[in-house]
């Protein structure tokens, strides 16, 4: 909420609803073309923003479908730098994370001010990174991690977002974690490990009666229904999880299903970690 301006009325207008030619009737437009355990291809590069202490850019493979686009993220790390004079003494580095969707990143235009979901993502990212950095190496200093989501996962062909925003957020978070880890390493901030994010989902493709399956790195529009999903930030060498975000509806009596979902989430972050490791080795070679 912008406190300095008078804002227009909220929710006074109704968004237009486009006629949905392609996907009319059938919900499962194209479906998933990858194996259940395969992640999308990912492009990652460090050192893209010269003015920042460290930076990285991540792009997810665009699906074969026309009009669909993959996630594009740019992360810059500023610091370590001195804390403002008014800040209290800190024996650790003070981490602050900002995630912002570009106004044009999603189907529905986003404002310039961070909305609650972006703040929420920022907290998730902070939790994921704070477990990875060695904060006591940099007393009295601060670091800002700023991520712009240049383009979100989206599909022009689907007329409306089908309650997918929450699942999209998980995909975005996983990308943010990976790109931030690369930028942190580029900035020379001590980390215990390279943290990478991954998403796994329990999907039901064949209507309400079919058996749900677990897939890695889901694209919401590929699936008829997502029953549950989890986003995991994982440290491969230590075999530790720094952030776990699960959402869905699972019977509590079936712990195995949950455990499998988490295992697949870890698999997804391992996949992302391979890309991250290769990217970092390229950086120093």
């Amino acid at each position: 909420m912008d406190r300095r301006r008078i804002n227009g009325p909220a929710g006074a207008t109704q968004p237009p609803v486009f006629d949905d030619v392609v996907s009319q009737g059938a919900k499962t437009v194209s479906g998933r073309s990858r194996m259940p355990d395969a992640s999308r291809k990912m492009y990652l590069k460090t050192g893209v923003t010269p003015s920042a202490s460290g930076s990285a850019y991540l792009e997810m493979e665009t699906s074969a479908k026309p009009g669909a686009s993959g996630l594009k993220l740019s992360c810059s790390v500023h610091g370590p730098r001195a804390l403002p004079r008014s800040a209290p003494f800190s024996p650790h580095i003070v981490l602050s994370t900002h995630i912002k969707y570009a106004p044009f990143a999603t189907k529905q235009r986003r404002g310039y001010l961070r909305d609650p979901s972006e703040r929420d993502l920022g907290i998730h990212l902070e939790a994921a990174l704070r477990g990875a950095i060695i904060a006591d190496r940099w007393p009295k200093s601060g670091v800002d991690i700023i991520i712009s989501i240049v383009e979100g996962d989206q599909d022009r062909e689907t007329s409306k977002s089908q309650g997918e925003e929450a699942w999209d957020m998980m995909n975005a978070l996983a990308g943010c974690i990976t790109v931030a880890a690369a930028a942190l390493a580029d900035a020379g901030i001590d980390c215990v490990d390279t943290v990478a994010g991954g998403v796994a989902a329990l999907v039901q493709d064949g209507g309400a009666d079919s058996t749900p399956t677990i897939v890695v790195d889901p694209i919401p529009s590929d699936h008829a229904k997502i029953l549950a999903a989890c986003c995991i930030a994982y440290l491969p060498t230590r075999d530790e999880v720094t952030n776990l975000w699960f959402r869905g509806d699972l019977p509590a009596s079936d712990m195995d299903l949950y455990t499998h979902l988490v295992e697949k989430g870890i698999l997804a972050s391992r996949n992302a970690n391979c890309v991250l490791t290769n990217c970092l080795m390229e950086t120093i070679e």
């Binding site: 703040r119 907290i123 089908q162 989890c230 299903l257």
Partner: protein, 372 residues
Amino acid sequence: MSSTNHVLLSPAELAYLHASLSLTPPIRPDGRAPTQFRPLVAETGILPGTNGSARICFADGTEAIVGVKAEVERTVVGPEGEGVIVEGGEGEVEEGGGEGEAGWVEMTVEIPGVRDDDSGTAFLAAMLSEGLLADEGFVRRLWINRRFHWKLYLDIILISPPLSYPLPLLSLTTHLALLSTRLPRLKSEGDEDPFFDDDWAAAPYLFPRPNGKSTTFVSQTRPPITLLVMAVGNNIIFDPSKEELAVADVALAVSVTAGSSSSQAPSKHVPMDTSTEGRNLRLLSIRTIDPPSRLTPPGVANAANSAYGANAGQKTTHEAQATAEGEAVEGVWRAPRGGAKRMVLGALVQKVLERGGVVDEVLDALEGVDLG
């Protein structure tokens, strides 16, 4: 901007707390058993101007109030013939119609002393509404007819600045408020403009009450509750206080609800063993809470302490204070690094979801609150 506010504790206190919570069984500073909650005082229906309300306070004076208000709202329907949101009667909603439905519930959290655009508050609100919305059956209850639905406003207000992470308090209060929520009885039929019975006594509960002392709560659907659990060493601790959270290795917020799943699909995976004692619990959401332990000041071992005995006055402070890489010394606090082992996370979730475990008892106790 962290999900948990920072607490100032001395390294010696942290080391002591960690040691006592790592014992088997753990010794909690307030003497509670690991799964025991702080005693609380609860009442519902405190605000006559709302559809449902509740108040819970802790012995330390922390107090939360939740008011639920419902308004009739016109459902945005797509072009002719395409039932974007609704299809058929009896609250049957076309599957996947989530976006429109999620917007039917609006939740705000107000924490005194915190800016309303604070990220921590946004995180709290997201966490509470996530649990609510993950249960598709919940928003379905707000359906009136094809053209109208209830819009539910949940306003969660913490009366005093939080003395501990307020998540469980807010969640339990929200649960009670929803339990006590009643919507006016619909008199109109079909898709005409809704027309309601103005007799409040006839208004049905949003979550229908069990008849008398029936034990068939297996089929009873309840609003979700979000619990805070943390692990120290091998111990799993419920409803941690501020001090306990400050030495947590990992903390999770787990949203659970009781009742049969609205989307029956996953339950097909398992045979429904309704014969067993206890509720049919469903896991709705899990979030990692960034434990404040990572931001705690480290202790200095006597051996490295410049202010210790003979070394005093020598200029060795910084070599000593710079956290030398070394093995942990007993009795000296060190902020944890890295994340949590999979096993620990799994155990935490398992403990919450245990049949006939903590969640069941909490739900029992909440049901026992008089909804006058």
